[in-house]
């Protein structure tokens, strides 16, 4: 795999950082978003697969979780092995359990999803680590926050096993320092009038922190049928309708 950036005199610090990041732990595997335009805006040309990523969103909403599920759905599209979704029995954000028909509506094949529920956060983090080490292609940890130490362990396990590690920490407990390779924030965007009766979803993705990259923001639409993202701007060849009354 070629390293994504070469040093350019134009913007030395960022380019250097990117080159170092790419060089220190070469990412052999990256998860494409399904949209060339979106992929191109990340230093790796996609989301680095064997790494830890954190996703946050408003507490009583499903958006952060839904974005994580979309990423899982993309990872599941590649092959047969199962994915692991781990959560706490007492979910701190009280969102309730994942619901099969809703997962299917987002495009995630539930047949390859293993749901694990733990009583304590330490047990959940342990389970995620074990699953990553066993080589599962992706794991999602919901409602648990990983401090620096736990985060590093997850990173190592992800690198060794090659799996995508996603964390959706509880809204009240987002660590300020984290070992994650990328940190995202997801907000809902109002749907177009004609989209509302379908399964389409629109999000504003904010890349808040990125090792070797810069913060950025995108408005995207998720298509559950093709399991891919598209930049909203690309689709908007007509002006956005005003929010319906």
């Amino acid at each position: 795999m070629s390293s994504p950036k070469t040093l350019s005199p134009g913007n030395p610090p960022t380019a250097l950082r990117a080159a170092l990041a790419a060089a220190e732990t070469p990412v052999a595997d990256r998860l494409s978003f399904g949209s060339a335009a979106l992929d191109a805006t990340l230093p790796w040309g996609g989301l680095p697969a064997a790494r830890l990523h954190e996703i946050a969103g408003a507490a009583e909403q499903g958006v952060a979780l839904a974005f994580a599920v979309a990423l899982l759905a993309r990872r599941a599209a590649d092959g047969a092995p199962p994915l692991l979704w781990g959560r706490l029995r007492r979910d701190p954000d009280r969102r309730g359990r994942p619901y099969g028909p809703g997962l299917a509506a987002l495009g995630l094949p539930t047949a390859r999803l293993i749901l694990v529920e733990a009583r304590r956060p330490t047990d959940l983090l342990w389970a995620l680590e074990e699953a990553l080490r066993a080589g599962l292609p992706a794991v999602l940890g919901e409602g648990v926050a990983a401090d620096l130490t736990a985060g590093r362990r997850l990173q190592l396990a992800a690198e060794r096993g090659g799996g995508l590690a996603l964390l959706v920490p509880p809204a009240a407990d987002r660590p300020s320092v984290s070992a994650a390779t990328t940190r995202w924030r997801v907000d809902a965007l109002p749907l177009e009038n004609d989209e509302f009766d379908g399964p389409a979803v629109r999000w504003r993705l904010s890349l808040e922190r990125c090792r070797g990259g810069r913060p950025a923001q995108w408005d995207v639409v998720w298509d559950h049928a093709t399991r891919s993202f598209a930049l909203a701007a690309e689709l908007a060849d007509r002006p956005l309708a005003a929010a319906a009354g």
Binding site: A58, E60, Q61, G62, V63, L65, F67, V69, D78, G79, A80, P81, P82, R94, R95, G96, R97, P98, Y99, G100, P101, G102, L103, A104, A105, L106, P109, T110, A111, R112, L113, I114, L115, V116, E117, A118, R119, D123, W126, A127, E130, A131, A134, G135, L136, P137, G162, D187, A188, L189, P190, L191, N193, F196, D197, P199, V201, W203, A243, A244
Partner: protein
Amino acid sequence: MASSGGALRLAAVDPAAAAEGLEPGLTLADARARLPGLRSAPAEPEADAAALAALADRLQLYSPLVGLDGEDGLLLDSTGCDHLFGGETALLERLCRRLGAGGLAVRAALADGAAAAWAWARWRPDGAPPVLAPGETAPLTTLPVEALRLPAASLSLLRRLGLRRVDELLALPPRTLTARFGPQLCNRLDQLLGRTQAPIVPRRPPPERRVVLSLAEPLSEVEALRTALSHLLERLCGELDAAGEGARALRLVLHFLDEGQQSLSAGTVRPSRSPAHLLQLFGPPLEAAETDRGVEALVLEVEASERDPPRQIGFDPGERAGGGPDERTLAELLDRLQVRLGPGSVRQIAPFDDHRPERAVRPLAAPVLAPADWPDGLPRPLTLLPEPEAIEAVAPVPDDPPLLFRWRGRLRRVRQALGPERISAGWWQAFESGRPFRLRDYYRVEAEDGGRYWLFREGAVGDEPPPRWFLHGLFG
């Protein structure tokens, strides 16, 4: 003593009292008249039964098949177990010593067949050896007829006829006995002499496979116990290997010095005969066990197993489609997760045919990996609350979606809504849950804070009691 017929009667007497002529059945008053210094205590049949059952469980160290025998006896099948304790006589001696040390008066015997053992234990003459060799039936014939476990009517008839010993009965032709006493008498004779078998009804069904390790020195450290367990697992897995089977459920019983015991379980998702993997599964339970009571024996049993023919390891690295763990690694991962996180913690989601949303999904124990067929097209939330939460909602016209609602203390204004989707249930389903399932009109709403929610109005407008609004799930 126990109360019967309006008077307190003796239920049991100790040898000293028996020597003075007291018998069960005597009224307490009569007994006291004969022996003024008599001490008595109320009979507690339930406590006795519980104690006997507990004793039966402890004696599982000596045999996997332990059955209760009436109110005061136990039957053990010692086939194949005696060599672990140094032979039949040694086994019996150890048993009696242990029970005696616990303060119990014991009469024990070992013989060919349950009926013979029963008879010999209760009726053998003093001084006769407690262990009868296989085929040694002559001593049995000298026993009184009470040793045949016959009903009281038959026994009193025998006494009237002057038949007191088993050999007297054997001298008579069987047809005569059957004519007079029915078939039971001859059956009992056959059982006593080993011609037919009287089954033992065990307290627990015997396990499929069982290995026992009796320790010369008691152990209390977890590490040492783990080593002992690994020896047991090597033996057990050797047997499984030879049979082409793998274990699905295992039970390890630790027998302590103080006669107590503790039972630990482990289960697997796929049949396994890997000692290393099974040892790992017992890790957390062993650490949590009360090992400092001192373990003197370990009994490892297979409670469930399945055929698991040996597989050829594939040499082709490209064999595993799409990379990721192979079946065995995955199964072992799931086992480890289940052991540490507890039963029911590892699940899969599969569709289940029911209109009501909360029943439409049923978690399975992993891993059933068949493709799932979800009903398509209708909007369904990503997460479902365990119970719908009541909300306050303002809806302009009875059938319309709400304009705003308050959930968990915050007011939310609705920007767009989709619905209603009417979901109802058959009247019989209302009885199942105990709560009537009223008609529900579901709406998917998008609020101005960006959240997307699944709300429903329960009950039709104009109903009594008036309809209420709930929030059931969250969308992405």
